[in-house]
């Protein structure tokens, strides 16, 4: 197992089949099954305790799975010890070797693979160049900034051309500007190396920005897998819609193509999904799909010529946040509320406490089953 590195390393497919991990009577993850394509960038997204890190630990071998199987490139990892899995990993907090220089840190995986000295020197130089730290190779980790340590951790994880790169909240300790810069670099490195990446984060913006696909975890289970756009536009449940992006939610009940709330009845005939079931439900609309106007404004007419009336509802402004290119209104509605985003084109809709009217195209509303009901 001494992978000869080159610039065009490609990743391997990762398969999880019914992976379950229990600690005593506590089930950390249950029946996790998914397939990640070679070279794909997949993010595990979820709140803390959702099982995303446990799943990663099972892949890395830090936890023994209670049941199920993990396959990398068709070969089972499940019973392999940690050091034989041949994975690249960027740890939370970096886990650099503090008693070694940057160069020695990066050479460590190559030395374990018993590569000839010339090959080690070449691969370390390549990794250093990839992350832009060539002139820092003789520094100790303590002499580096957070962003530089992050880059060393990344270089150490990719230098031996691993078929799978695991990243455990690698950017959580960095400030926002640096985080966004490193996100771009991670994307670039992923494109250049073509390795399969599993990236764990609780930050939905990070997940949306980086991933080919996102796996959303909640309470030890996968709740939805999809591209960032699918998750944002077509969340399958309330948890995903609230965890990925902002939204306006209205509680009510749904039956036969009609959503009823205290504020009125809404036909879902034109909605992107008109479910077959009936029962307690939430209607979800994304903030940028909603128009907001003063309460005295009359309900606007439908703009798409479908003949369907635009849905509208009255509410009260609860909070206003100015974010530069837009104004975010937190609006309270009968049976719900949420965030509405309005382009800042001068003039205001009203102050906190002012009554407003929200309106949206029926096609932009989604009906989701209410889990708490």
């Amino acid at each position: 197992m001494s992978p000869e590195h080159s610039g065009d390393v490609t990743g391997a497919a990762l398969q999880l089949r019914g992976v379950t991990k229990r600690f005593g009577s506590f089930t950390a993850i249950e029946d996790i099954s998914l397939t990640i394509e070679p070279g794909e960038f997949v993010t595990f997204l979820g709140p803390s305790g959702s099982g995303k890190t446990t799943t990663l630990n099972c892949i890395a071998g830090f936890e023994e799975v209670t049941a199920g199987e993990i396959l990398l490139g068709g070969n089972s990892l499940t019973s392999l010890p940690i050091h034989k899995r041949n994975l690249g990993m960027v740890f939370q907090g970096y886990a650099l070797f503090p008693h070694m220089t940057v160069e020695k840190n990066i050479a460590y995986p190559l030395k374990q693979r018993k590569l000839p000295r010339a090959a080690i020197a070449r691969d370390v130089a390549f990794a250093l160049e990839t992350v832009g730290l060539t002139e820092f190779k003789d520094r100790m980790p303590t002499q580096l900034s957070g962003g530089q340590r992050q880059r060393v951790a990344l270089a150490r994880a990719i230098c031996f051309g691993p078929p799978l790169l695991l990243m455990d909240e690698p950017l959580s300790a960095l400030d926002k500007a640096l985080r966004e810069q490193l996100q771009l670099e991670i994307r670039r490195i992923h494109r250049e190396l073509g390795t399969t990446v599993v990236f764990v984060t609780h930050d939905q913006d990070e997940a949306l920005a980086l991933s080919d696909r996102i796996v959303v975890f909640d309470k030890g289970r996968i709740v939805q897998i999809g591209t960032p756009r699918e998750l944002y536009q077509n969340p399958e449940n309330v948890f995903v819609s609230e965890f990925v992006g902002e939204s306006v939610m209205i509680a009510g009940s749904y039956a036969d193509g009609e959503f009823s709330t205290e504020a009125g009845r809404f036909s879902t005939a034109a909605a992107s999904s008109s479910p077959q079931w009936s029962g307690p439900a939430q209607m979800m609309i994304r903030p940028e799909r909603i128009g907001i106007a003063g309460a005295e404004a009359s309900a606007p007419a439908s703009g798409d010529g479908s003949g369907d009336a635009v849905h509208s509802v009255r509410g009260v402004i609860e909070d206003i946040t100015y974010v530069g290119n837009a104004v975010k209104y937190r609006v309270g509605l009968p049976g719900g509320g949420g965030i509405v985003r309005s382009q800042d084109i001068g003039g205001t809709v009203g102050d906190i406490g002012a009554p407003v009217r929200l309106s949206w195209n029926p096609a932009d509303a989604r009906i989701l089953a209410r889990e708490d009901a």
Binding site: P81, H83, P98, H99, Y108, Q112, E129, G132, S145
Partner: protein
Amino acid sequence: MTTATRPAGSGAPPRARRGLGPYGILVLPVILIVVLCFVVPMLTVLVRAVTEPEPGLQNFAWLFASDHTLALIGRTLRLAGAATLITALIGYPYAYAMATAGPRVQAIMLLVVLLPFWTSMMVRTFAWIIILQNNGVLNAMLTGVGLPPQSLLYTQTAVLIGMCQVLMPFMVLPMVAVMRSIDMRIPLAAQTFGAPPVKAFFTVYLPMSLPGVLSGALIVFILSLGFYVTPALLGSPREQILPNALFNQIVDLLNWGQGGALAVALLVTVGLAFVLVYLVTRALGLKVNVAGGAQL
């Protein structure tokens, strides 16, 4: 890659203000005690070493000319070295187990290691006499399982056993302090990158815990150079070590001159130990705090 060269979020932390400020006066009592009870008597000993019975360096000439004193110094160093080595070898696995144990087990292990601390020196030493004497507990056990009895009491081995027990906490506690600060993801990272567990330990965990080993070793070595009661009670007068010879010279023979020279020899040995550890740590790029709270 122009952006990569810019150290993000760098900037040295603000330097601590020099001087002590208005509360500096609170340090005075401590300084006074140290000067009166430590610096003054020590200088007296030094002065007497070069003035008694007459001014000159004859006491040091005696020190280096006599086979007896050189053997004394050699024996003392060997004993201190052996005590350091043994406490390190026994203490390291113990400290590792303690640092990685849960809080309950950790508290119990701390209690066990501190137990000799809380026992009176005399009680502890006489307990060893009872265990080690010819018809003692140890020999009863040995003969009980059919092994020949050992004559351990009043030997260097008995001294070593007694010293190691007393010195164990000084070795274990600095080790635990360092080991507890080690992020366990780091040795895990070594395994992830292809090192089998044993190799990950020797290439990553051991070097990272070395500051604790060094500061523990320094403390134990220096303390064992000054051990008096244990060697006096468990050892043989024919195999004296420096502190006991020193005591003889000054208390029994009232020979302040030669006693002083021995004291200087002891002091210089301690100083050399400090210099040695300093050089080792600097060569390895480590920071060692001799007070025990070592860090990397």
